[in-house]
Amino acid sequence: MTEWDPKIVAFCCNWCSYAGADLAGVSRMQYPPNARVIRIMCTGRLEPEFILRAFELGADGVLVAGCHIGDCHYVSGNEKAEAKIAMAAELLDVLGIDKRRLRLEWISASEGRKFADTMKDFVDKLRELGPSPLKGVTQ
């Protein structure tokens, strides 16, 4: 690897945030190319284990993005996600990983701007935090 640049895994729900990410593209909003999006049907699908695994695999940050509360395509999956993410954040803390490396955002299908701004902001924050402490640790 040449110069370190934060690597982000972004779990986006199919109905809101993935569509919001598409809208950022349709609107040609530019943001740094640090994130790799994994499409899931609902943020409620995420097991805390996936997040821990992503850090174990070398992610510097994990973004989870879903529908606004009340707007979930599956009624209340995002509320369950919120609880699970909070739990994952506690676990990260125990493991000595800064909680700010895990971010939960509600981004609707019409919020392309918010998606782009979130990316910019998250990359900036991760640059301040530096590489993840798990980087280089063997699995």
Binding site: M29, V37, G44
Partner: protein
Amino acid sequence: MSDEEKRIGVFICHCGSNIAGFIDVPAVTEYVKTLPDVVFATRNLYTCADDGLTSIKESIKEHKLNRVVVAACTPRTHAPLFQGTCQEAGLNKYLFTFVNIRDQCSWVHMKEKEKATEKAKDLLRMGVARARLLQAQDEVKVGVTSAAVVIGGGVAGMSAALSIADQGFPVRLVEKESELGGFVRNLSSVYQEREDAGALLKTIIDRVRSNPNIEVLLNSEVISADGFVGNYDIIIDTKGQERNDKVGVIVLATGTREYIPKGLYGYGQSPNIVTLTEFEKLVKERKLPKLSSVAFIQCVGSRGQDKSYCSRICCNVSLKNAMNLAENYKNMRGLEGTGAVVEAAAPKETPSEGGERRHGRRGRRGGAEESEEGGASEGPKLEIVIFNRDIMAYGVDHELMYNKAREKKVRLVRYTPKNIPKVSVDSGKLVIDYWHDTLQMQRRMTPDLIVLATPVTSQADAKEISMMLKVPLGQDGFFLEAHVKLRPVDFATDGIYVCGTCKGPADIPEAVSQGIAAASRASIPLARGFVQPEALSAFVDSEVCSGCGNCIEVCPFTAIRKNEHGKAEVTIAACKGCGNCGATCPENAIFMNNYSDEQLLAEAKAALQEAKG
């Protein structure tokens, strides 16, 4: 299946220059060839075009592909097309996966070709990793309730209802007001030929009323909707009486309301400052005051003043009303004295106005024509001014009407957002002080009536309906279609469709077209008689299931129940594949079709392959 040899074919789209202009597609293609199980990789100018699709079909046969990856725009619009292509070539559509390298890569990293190319390689590595774990799925066929509900009885909703009913399907047309007609009920006439709005509505309402397939439910609202395409259980509330009903599809046509310009241009300070729709009502009810001078102000509360958007129809409505006043004022007034708002209205000649008039006459050859008209029985000519930022008389007929209005001496005075006309009310008299941008002069006008052209806005209950049906609203509160160009009357959710002004400003021809379009889309599942929900459902491994019931608790669709052995069991037709149960199961006994733990983790692993420092 794990012993089967995987043969993955990858098709990378240039999308003209949309992708290839910002990503090194040849380099990505070469890279993909090095990935495990990829036996074929190629690039197409447009993978979605005929030759692109043919190349997929031929390659499946020639290279015995059993997994297909397309890297292109976005799965949200194009996955179904490529899945269909795979199926035509005999490949199960669940053995296809999509990699988004346009909307989420080339279009958002346009100035960083090298990094965008690296990202595209990563995304393809993730797609291939996912493809290796894909499994063929069978879609269950589910029957359809052959009936539709149309929510909203305006012109869009009525057009949709008629079109579905004419195809032979029963329709419930649910209108919350006590009459059909929607927003158009407010109007006196419609552009361009100033047809009587009431007569136009009556034609449509009569057709709806006489159609045996349409059941009109007035004073009614849909208060609950559960289910999925083809099978919705709804509850219709009519004045407190609830009725349970079953329909296959839902068409949303809840319409619009006018923006009320509180605090703008003296609105509320005088009965003679009205909105465009209030003006229509005055005309319709023949309550128009005696007038010698009228000012229209365009873009009130729209285009950044409060709402961000252009309401599109108001320029044409104001032009129509201006033309009506110019040509037809006497007839519009009706009988003398009926509800006149303005007591006395003498022709106004403030010094500055007079100066401008002289200026205007000198500058035009039409002076003779004007005096001829002015000499007609109407007495002094009515002064009509339209203050505008720019007139959006789009289309052929509208532009002709605009030209005609100018011929009729309707004055179009431009203003800029930085220098808007100032309205004041001086002991009951209306005053407009404005900067005349062409003359570069400060001027004053004292009209008898000011008409504010405000935008149409979303309905008060839009949010509530959006949450009930789980369909999105856009930033301005209008319903958001699945794709503005490719799926303009669909929601992303199958079985629910949208038309008319609840999805944005539209005039009558547009609302009717959208209504008919939505009806055509909604009739597809009804005509086919069955639907095949995507095979995304959850499966419970009853050997592992401990019967704790956590999954039953989190399922938003009550699609899981405990069977006679005390184990969780999924009702496939009711399951929507959200995966909340899978994420909750403490035993890992729930498997999510097409979004399995293994697939998601393989993607994450591929994403981070280069990341371990």
